[in-house]
């Protein structure tokens, strides 16, 4: 077996000290091979987003180790790290600078990493996410939610990273737009051989995009399972089962059927 692209060993994230000490992530370990997509599922407060943030340096790694592409990541993260790993955030309304044009948003990472050919790279990045060159000089408020998320993905991809960290990339979007973004992410992964880590509370979305996933609760890993097992409804863990049930929609068992009064 080849070395995993991402190897998380006993990751621990602690915020605050003394009375305010919170262990947001307790001893979470997982491995993701190159080109695979891995899901992190759980309710809010389960620490799933914190794992992502700890990987890319937005949250402290209080214990354990993070290896990316066989290399122990340094703190603070260096430029080489950000060339390998990029992140897409949940809310495209909040993650793009409101007073920067698309062009400026996309040229920033190129400038930081002293890349040449900014012009062609930007046009190419726009093309990759299915937007035309006409979007280049627009401001975020001139774009729809789906278009903004495409720009956020273009910004993450412009440095040609190997790993994309996706933090609820579709939960702020309408169902039909969600479908477009999921298709785009699927396509890009196939074309560029990207490795994904996807955080979501929506099991169906995770099962669609990922092959393997980790269910988290209260900062702990509950169960590692596969999308195929989810689809067949097999979960060895009670909590995972309750998530599967909840994703099927509201059910009225345990509740009396309402006396419907016809009008």
């Amino acid at each position: 077996m080849t070395d995993p692209m991402l190897d998380i060993q006993n990751l621990k994230v602690v915020f605050g000290t003394g009375r305010l000490r919170v262990e947001a992530v307790k001893d979470v370990s997982f491995q993701v091979e190159a080109g695979a997509a891995y899901g992190l599922v759980g309710e809010s407060g389960s620490g799933k987003s914190t794992v992502l943030r700890a990987i890319c340096g937005l949250a402290p790694v209080s214990g354990g180790r993070v290896f990316v592409d066989g290399r122990d990541v340094p703190t603070p993260r260096d430029k080489a790290f950000y060339r390998t790993v990029q992140m897409v955030f949940q809310d495209p309304y909040a993650s793009l600078h409101p007073r920067h044009t698309v062009d400026r948003t996309l040229s920033e990472p190129l400038a930081i990493h002293r890349e040449k050919d900014a012009e062609t790279r930007i046009l190419q990045a726009l093309r990759e996410v299915g937007l035309g060159p006409s979007f280049r000089f627009r401001y975020p408020h001139q774009l729809s939610g789906g278009q903004r998320q495409r720009i956020a993905i273009a910004r993450a991809l412009i440095l040609r990273p190997k790993v994309l960290l996706l933090d609820e990339p579709t939960s702020a979007l309408d169902a039909s737009v969600q479908a477009e973004i999921l298709n785009l992410l699927d396509d890009l992964r196939r074309k560029m051989g990207l490795t994904y880590i996807l955080v979501s509370h929506d099991l169906a979305v995770v099962a669609h995009l990922c092959e393997r996933l980790l269910v988290m609760r209260h900062g702990e890993a509950v169960e590692e399972t596969t999308a195929a097992a989810l689809r067949s409804g097999q979960a060895s863990n009670e909590y995972t089962q309750s998530l599967i049930d909840a994703s099927r929609g509201y059910s009225r068992e345990a509740v009396q059927p309402p006396p419907a009064i016809a009008v």
């Binding site: 169902a175 479908a179 929609g249 509740v255």
Partner: protein
């Protein structure tokens, strides 16, 4: 045939802006008895504005017109402000999307429920307090006495939303409008909130308008569903017949959701036909 609780005919909501007039709701008609009606649509479809217009909560430059907008025989368009004030929160209540923004941050949850109750019923402090505690218990708060004296920032999203439901139902309304009551909540928590809402609505036999973008959720919760697109109702159907939806927009909305049951890729996307908006 009994008289409908709410009768809406040709409801229009317009916003006159500097850049022209935007019609957010364009001729929506429906009648509601003591049943559960779901209104589904994407953002910008006018579903929330429909709910707000019924209560007269359309924000200022907005203008509401309708051939008929009547609640239990009271014409909401010509009713005095006083009558409307009595109706709002009294006989018609509304649960908003995010408890973080819709609860008063500087009042305890208990005080807010008491305030809502005493604004509509003649009741002493002690009676209102008992009623508030009973209501907090009805929404399955584990320790009603403790929650009563907490501030909104001290409770979780699910608890906040249940407190909101308690506050809205304490006056025993005839009609509850729930605007995305669970979209700010986690899946498992939202199931719990829905179960509570379900119980209370059926116990008290009130009418419910449930506004949501989630077609699957609405169809499993409501009796009847209105599907809105660009300010119009494109399809009205029985929730249990959702699978046989006729309109291409409804079908498209159903298909583009990834499901655990089958693995389709690429996901079918929605091709919007301009004629739907006509």
């Amino acid at each position: 045939m009994t008289k409908p609780l709410l009768d809406v005919e040709d409801l229009r909501v317009r916003f006159h802006l500097r850049t022209g007039t935007v019609e957010a709701v364009r001729g929506v008609s429906f009648q509601l008895g003591r049943e559960r009606l779901g209104i589904v649509g994407e953002s910008g479809s006018g579903k929330s504005q429909t709910g707000r217009a019924i209560l007269g909560l359309t924000p200022p430059p907005g203008e509401i017109t309708a051939k008929r907008l009547a609640f239990d025989g009271i014409d909401l368009q010509t009713a005095s402000r006083r009558t409307l004030r009595d109706l709002r929160g009294g006989r018609i209540s509304m649960v908003m999307q995010d408890p973080k923004y819709s609860l008063n941050p500087v009042m305890t949850i208990g005080e807010q429920i008491i305030e809502a109750y005493r604004a509509h019923k003649r009741a002493g402090k002690a009676e209102a307090r008992d009623k508030a505690l009973a209501m907090l218990e009805a929404v399955k708060m584990r320790d009603p006495g403790r929650v009563f004296s907490l501030y909104p920032h001290e409770v979780s999203g699910g608890m906040g939303q249940r407190a909101m439901i308690a506050m809205m139902l304490v006056t025993d309304p005839d009609l509850l409008i729930a605007d995305e009551p669970t979209s700010a909540l986690d899946v498992t928590v939202s199931m719990e909130v829905l179960r509570i809402l379900d119980e209370l609505v059926s116990e008290r036999g009130m009418g419910l308008i449930f506004i949501s973008h989630d077609l699957k959720l609405v169809s499993s919760f409501c009796n009847r569903v209105l599907v809105m697109y660009a300010g119009r109702v494109v399809e009205e159907l029985e929730a249990r017949h959702l699978r046989d939806a006729k309109h291409p927009y409804t079908q498209g909305l159903m298909r583009c959701l990834p499901t655990l049951a089958n693995d389709v890729r690429p996901l079918p996307t929605l091709d919007r036909d301009p004629s739907w908006a006509q």
